[in-house]
Every structure is written in structure tokens, then in C-alpha cells.
Symmetry: C2
Subunit: 482 residues, 2 copies
């Protein structure tokens, strides 16, 4: 779908947003003035004004691309968002719901009745419905299912039967299939009869009598070869196919590697089930990277900028509670060594540095491992070399940062023994940090779990407690009772 | 370009990698055996064996897609990588260099002579050359420039004149331009005469006599409309255009929003300069998100898995040194209050918790702000509401986590005053953390800087020192001298 503005810029969107906010604010203001007026005229005037604004907003939204409307809705606070949503035409509703973020979609759907939702869904394809399915209330979903024809219902059930991380869940059914005994001329007139190709159609799929994919016919070839030729002579037979149960991450890397626009999706018997397009893959990559970034900061899921405070709090507390627990656990080590600190209070200000640097170096290692695992670059053949390299690096880092630690410790407290202990503790903790930073993601990956999840929390709690333990332990062995 | 395997899977790549590693290992082994043999036959046998393996590797690589070769090279340790690189055909060299990561590219180029590099570059388009330009030695670059014809040189200079984050730097010149007075029939025969369309050609650009874009003709429309119609009757006039100096991040969001495959790029006079394709955008998104993730962990740039230890160390030390410095600075606060700790040693184990929780909540806030800024969702109109919401949330979080802190403190030390001080300190530090987490990215953004860079480090150093300061300050005011 093309946008309705020749020059797309962020300024354009900001400008639209500004105009809509102004309209909404006027509406709110006039409403409140009306409510202060004499009670008799109240409802009448309210209705007139409301209609007037409603029409203006409607006209504004009708000119915008659904993705732009989605952007504007996401940028609006809850009350204004509801008002704006009311003004969006029923035939745009569905596309807009598809484009908004999950969190904002919840806020929009929660205000809609089951029959309203069912009519919205009427304009959507099976693969689009599948995207919404998880967010729709049961009653609306039942109504929608009843309104579908049998092909649509089969398609919808097919998509819903796959896990979120399987290719089948991302496919659509916009493929055009042809036979290899047709002439290019026949194909051209077939396409002309169709009148319209689904978006992202860069190739047609050539299937046999059992619906198995034998080749693909890129539109390019259709355009550049003589019309008298047959599909079998022109089609490409070495092409990329995906399987319905293949991992989406793997598929997205294939799209990047081979610069694909669309590709057939087949089941285990090689029968064509659907197609995968670059727009779904791009959404997938964006969502995955946002998720990775937010989960690093302990925000469990995508958050509506204007979700109620309570909702946001629930989204963030899980992680904060885990953090409180691990922080308490690791600082209990300090509690055990209180007498050491009383004898040498300098340790209180020096040991957090050792703990923090452990966390930092460990995170550097684990992040590189996590990323390399995601790219599939770590194999049984090279993992040992990699471990050796990281350990060598850790020893080097430990020596370097350890010396700095010792030097600064000596400059502050003029105590050579203390400086030596701090340098040694730093060295040991950096080694521990890298071992932990290597082990957690590699082990999680080996046992089939997402190597990124929780690695940072576990790592930090280990490097913190080890940092405190090593400093205080070494101090009690070598520095006390002198 | 299509891959050479029907079913692309990660297993396929792992299998190829395994076979190549085996070949390389054999080669290494036999070489070392030969070197132990009698010195007379030495060179002869070495040459024969070398040729034999070289041929086998060559055959293997010739069947692989450049992107797959790139993947394999990235997964190989340095010595094997060099051996494999020697076996890759000269006509594939250029494409492979384009596909490998920056770090691995350096390792490959560093071993090549200037004339070798110049001949590799001979097979590349101007936009591809531009991608490599930064990594090529000056001498090779001069040779390459001399070998280009004037159009290619103009194209290359055009791309190199743009900043890395401008659309112009990412564009290519594979566009097909047509006039609006041609018939679709004429266009079709024009395309047939071309024989081949550049990859990602989903539309032709309609230009006027001044090379200004008047519309686009999607191949879809060419295929579905009567050949007798004229371009002017069929072309789409509301389409997305980018400007050469537009921000690439903005362009990538437009690609996602409008599901684009290719789009024209114009200069300030509206004259067509090139085109932007979804494959470049996808690479851009992937690189940017990798960068964001790695910079969170303080890895400055993309790192070759098998870079030498020294190179890796240099890549990671910058950040670690900053971390040592901030850790020392924030713990100096503790040094100032050593007498307080001596009087109440429990503080030594409790204060790191307050400091750590400040960092965690502050990071949650800043990460959401950074992401929303990147998506363009924060505007002058809504920023105040957003700040109010985050502050309310901070007060709620502070009360909740503060109570937990007080409770646990009391359970450990049975001291009500201490528990009260710890709860209050936690409350205040979480408020400080959120204020800092809001301010840093918003201020950096306001002054035109990347809001993500360094935010986490500055934030953590502030929340740490404030955490220590608040706990120790409150303790010295309310708990000592009792």
C-alpha cells in the first residue's frame, strides 16, 4: 500500500499529530463549557458539537495511511486516544488494529463490543485475523469464526496451530500458483484477468498436481522472456523454501542473507501451505530487537507510553522484585564479614568497585556470546577456541584493571598490603565473571533455552556476591591481625 | 540472487561449515607432515598437495552463495579463515567482502595487495564500492578510482559525499526510469530488450525532462493493465520519496510503516538521484539493533569472534576504564562517611541494595524513553504527561520497594530506626533514579545527540553515589549518637 503523501517525513507525522491533538483538545474544552450551561439545552448542543468535531476528525483520518493512524494513536494519552478511535472509519479499524503495538491494541479493543469487533474483523484476511486472535475476547472470536467461509476458517486454524516462533505463524496466503506447462503468454493474461496481485508478489509459485513446489517464476523473468516460452523453460528451480515448523529467527536470517522479498512455505510433505514476505520478517526483527533491548532493562513486555500507572507498575515490578531479592542475597555476604569491615573500614568503599567491574566484564562476554549464538556462529568446532580466547582476554583484563585497582587503592590508603589484596581480588573476580558470562548463555543454549533471558541478572548477582566474598575473604586471611 | 539449495536450513550451513573445516584441517595436517619429510622433495610435494586441496575447496565455495561464504568465514579462526579466503574465486571475492561483518572484512583485506583489491573491486557496482571504501587502503582506492568510467566515478563520489546516517549513503543506482507518454506495450518491450532487471525492482520511476519524479509504475500495474494504455494513465502519483539528506532511521520506519520494497531518492530540487531498497534497510535495522545491544554492555564496536586478544582488549577497555573511574568516584562517598559505618556496620551491607535498585529502576525508565524517542512517539505535546506518569510510578515503586527494604532491614537487624532510614533512603533514591532516567535521554535528544549513548553509565554512577550518600547521610542525621 502506498502512502498518501509524496514526501514522507517525520515532520509530516508530527504535523498531523499536532492538528489532531488540537482538534481533540477543542472538543474536550467545548464539551466542558456546554456542561456548565443551562441543563435544558445541554444534550442538544453537546450532540451538535460532537457531530461537528467527529466529522472533522473523520475526514482527517480518512486521508491517512493505517500505519500513520496507528502512530498517532500510540502517541495520544488514553482519553484522547479513545476519542480519536471513535472517529476512525469502520473500514480502517482492522488495519489500524494490526499496526498498533500490542499494549495500545489492548487499550483500543477493551472499549469495543463483540459485534463491533466482529464487523471490524470482516475486512481482514485470515493471516491478519490470526495476528489479532490472541487479543480478541472469546465472544468476539466466536462471532468472527461463524462469519468466515470454510477456506478462511481453514487458513485461520492453520496459522493458529503454529507456535509463535515457527514460520507457519507468520505466513500469509497471498500466493499465486501456476503450472509449468503454461506459456508465459497465458500467465500474463491470467494475471491481467486477476486484475490485482497481492502486495509483495515478486514471484509466482510453480506447483505440480500434488501442490508441491517445483519452482518459482519471478515477475522479472515473466517480463524479460519471450511470451511463447513455457513456464518450465523459464522458471527458477534453485530457490529458498521454508518449512511451516522452521524457526522464524532462522528464516529471518535467510531473508537477510539472500535478500528475499517472498518465499514459499511448505509442510513436511513438500506441499505448499503459504508464503512468507519480507514485511512480516522486518516486523519480526524489529519486535525481537526491541524485546531484547527492553528485557535488558527489566521491562517485561512492550509498554504503552500512556498505560495507567498501575499497569506499568505491574509490568516492571516482577523484575524489580527479583533484583531486590538478588541484591539482598549477595549483600548477605557482607553481613557475614562485618567484623572484617570494622577492623578495616576502607574495604567498605573498595569492595563495591570489585563487584561492579565483575558485572561489567561478565556482561561484555555474555552479550557477545548471546549475539554470536543468535547469528548461529558458534559451533561445536570453534567453541573451544572461543572459550580459550575469552579466558586469555579475561586474564589480560584482570591484570590491567587489577593493577589500576591496586594503584588507586594505594594512593587512597597508603597501605601496600591492602593494595595487593584489592588487585588480586579484582583479578580473580574478573576471571570468575568471564567464566560465568561464558557458561550461562552457552549452557542455556545447550539445554534449548533462550540464552538471553535473565543472563544479566544471574550474572550480576554472582559477580556481586563473589566480588564481596573474594575481597572480604582475602582481607580476613591476609590483612587482619597484623 | 537465489540460493543454490532448495531447502535452506541452518543445518545446511552447519554441514557446509563442517566439511570446509575438515578440508582445511587435512590441509594443515598434511602440510606439517610434509615439512618433517626430507628437505629435497619438500617444496614439490607441498605444491602438489596444496593445489589438490585448493581445487577441492574452490569447488566447494563455487557452489555457495556469497552470503553463505561470508557466514563460514566469520565462523573460522584466523589461520583457517586466511586459507579458505585463498580458495575463494576471484569473481566471488567482492560480493563476499560486502557480506562479511566489518571486523572480519578488516582481517581479510589486511592480507591483500593493492592490485588484488583493485581487481576485486572491478566486479562491484558504485554503491557496493562505497560500502567497502572506508575499509580499503588508500593505494587500492586510487587504483580503483582510475579504473572506473565517469558515470561510475560520479555515482561513487555521490554516495561517499553523504554522512553515514543519511539516506544518500545507502542508496543504489539500479533504478529504471521511464517517461509518462510511453504505452505499457512500449515499456514491456523496453524491459524485454533490457533482458534483466536489477534485484528489488518492484516499480519503475516515471520522470520528466528535468529528471524529476512524477510518479511510479509498479510492475503489478504493468502486468494487470491493458498494453494499449499510457504510463500517465496507469502510474501511481501518491508514493513515498526520500531525500538524499534524510535521516536513515526515519526512512527505515517509513519502509516498515508502508511495507515498501524500493523507493526513489531525490535531491533538494526533486531530481532523481538513486533508489533505496528494503535489503539495505533490513541490514541497517539489524546493524543498529546489534549496536544498541552491544553498546549496552560496553562493547564499542562489532567484534570479530576470533580477533586477536589484543584487538578485543582494545575494543573493550575504553568502557571498562570509564566504569572503573565512575565506580571509584561514586564509592568515594563511602570513604567520606567511614566513621558512620564504623558506628553502624549494618549500613555496609544495606547501602549497596539501595544503590543497585536505583540503577535498576532508572534504567527501566531511560530505556523506555530511549525507545519511544527512537520511534518518534515523544512530542512536545505529550512529554509533560509522560513525565508526570513516570514520576507517579516512581513514587509508587519507591513506597513499595521502600517498604520491602525497611521490612527486610528490620528482620535482619531488629532496629526500627535503621529500618525506617533504609526505607526512606530507598524511596528517595528511586525518585532520584527516575528523574535522572528521564532527564539524561530527553536532554541529550534535545541537544541533538543520540539519547542511548552512555546513558546507562552516567545513570548508574549517579544512582550509586546518590544511593550511598542518601543512606549514609540519613544515617548520620538520625541514627548516630543515640
Amino acid at each position: 500500500m502506498e502512502a498518501t503523501e509524496k514526501l514522507h517525513t517525520a515532520q509530516f507525522l508530527q504535523h498531523q499529530l499536532h492538528e489532531i491533538v488540537t482538534l481533540l483538545a477543542k472538543q474536550q474544552l467545548e464539551m466542558s463549557l456546554v456542561q456548565r450551561g443551562p441543563a435544558t439545552n445541554h444534550e442538544l448542543v453537546e450532540t451538535v458539537l460532537h457531530k461537528q468535531h467527529h466529522t472533522r476528525l473523520r475526514e482527517k483520518f480518512a486521508l491517512l495511511h493505517p500505519a500513520d493512524i496507528a502512530f498517532i494513536l500510540e502517541s495520544l494519552p488514553l482519553d484522547q486516544r479513545k476519542a480519536a478511535w471513535d472517529a476512525i472509519k469502520a473500514d480502517q479499524d482492522g488495519q489500524v488494529l494490526l499496526e498498533v503495538s500490542d499494549a495500545v491494541r489492548h487499550s483500543l479493543i477493551s472499549g469495543m463490543a463483540a459485534d463491533e469487533l466482529a464487523s471490524v474483523a470482516g475486512n481482514l484476511d485470515a493471516d491478519e485475523l490470526a495476528d489479532l486472535a490472541a487479543d480478541l475476547p472469546k465472544r468476539a472470536m466466536l462471532r468472527i469464526l461463524r462469519s468466515l467461509n470454510s477456506t478462511e476458517r481453514t487458513h485461520l486454524n492453520a496459522i493458529l496451530s503454529y507456535e509463535d516462533d515457527e514460520v507457519g505463524a507468520l505466513m500469509d496466503f497471498g500466493m499465486i500458483t501456476i503450472r509449468d506447462d503454461m506459456s508465459l503468454k497465458a500467465i500474463s493474461s491470467y494475471i491481467r484477468k486477476l486484475g490485482k496481485l497481492p502486495s509483495h508478489t515478486d514471484k509466482l509459485f510453480v506447483v505440480d498436481g500434488h501442490n508441491r513446489v517445483k519452482g518459482v517464476l519471478p515477475l522479472q523473468r515473466l517480463l524479460t522472456h519471450a511470451p511463447s516460452l513455457h513456464v518450465a523453460e523459464v522458471m527458477v528451480t534453485d530457490f529458498v523454501v521454508f518449512q511451516t515448523d522452521q524457526d522464524t529467527g532462522e528464516a529471518s536470517r535467510a531473508f537477510e542473507r539472500y535478500d528475499l522479498i517472498s518465499a514459499p512455505v511448505v509442510d513436511q510433505n513438500g506441499e505448499l501451505q503459504g508464503r512468507l514476505c519480507v514485511d512480516s520478517i522486518m516486523d519480526f526483527i524489529r519486535e525481537k530487537s526491541d524485546e531484547d533491548l527492553l528485557s535488558q532493562a527489566g521491562v517485561t513486555e512492550e509498554e504503552d507510553l500512556f498505560a495507567s500507572v498501575w499497569k506499568s507498575a505491574k509490568n516492571r515490578w516482577g523484575w524489580l522484585l527479583i533484583n531486590v531479592a538478588t541484591a539482598f542475597a549477595s549483600t548477605r555476604i557482607i553481613g557475614l564479614y562485618e567484623d572484617v569491615i570494622l577492623q578495616l573500614v576502607a574495604l567498605a568503599s573498595l569492595m563495591p568497585i570489585v563487584a561492579a567491574m565483575g558485572g561489567n566484564t561478565g556482561n561484555q562476554t555474555s552479550m557477545l556470546i548471546i549475539r554470536s549464538l543468535a547469528l548461529g556462529q558458534i559451533t561445536a568446532a570453534n567453541v573451544q577456541r572461543l572459550i580459550r580466547k575469552e579466558l586469555t582476554l579475561a586474564a589480560l583484563n584482570g591484570t590491567f584493571i587489577g593493577l589500576i585497582m591496586g594503584l588507586l587503592g594505594f594512593l587512597l590508603y597508603h597501605d601496600l598490603a591492602l593494595a595487593g589484596v584489592m588487585a588480586t581480588a579484582m583479578f580473580i573476580n574478573l576471571l570468575v565473571a568471564v567464566i560465568v558470562g561464558l557458561s550461562i548463555p552457552l549452557l542455556r543454549y545447550k539445554f534449548g533455552k533462550d540464552p538471553a533471558v535473565g543472563t544479566s541478572v544471574i550474572l550480576t548477582s554472582i559477580t556481586d556476591s563473589m566480588g564481596f566474598f573474594i575481597v572480604l575473604g582475602l582481607a580476613s586471611l591476609f590483612l587482619l591481625g597484623k
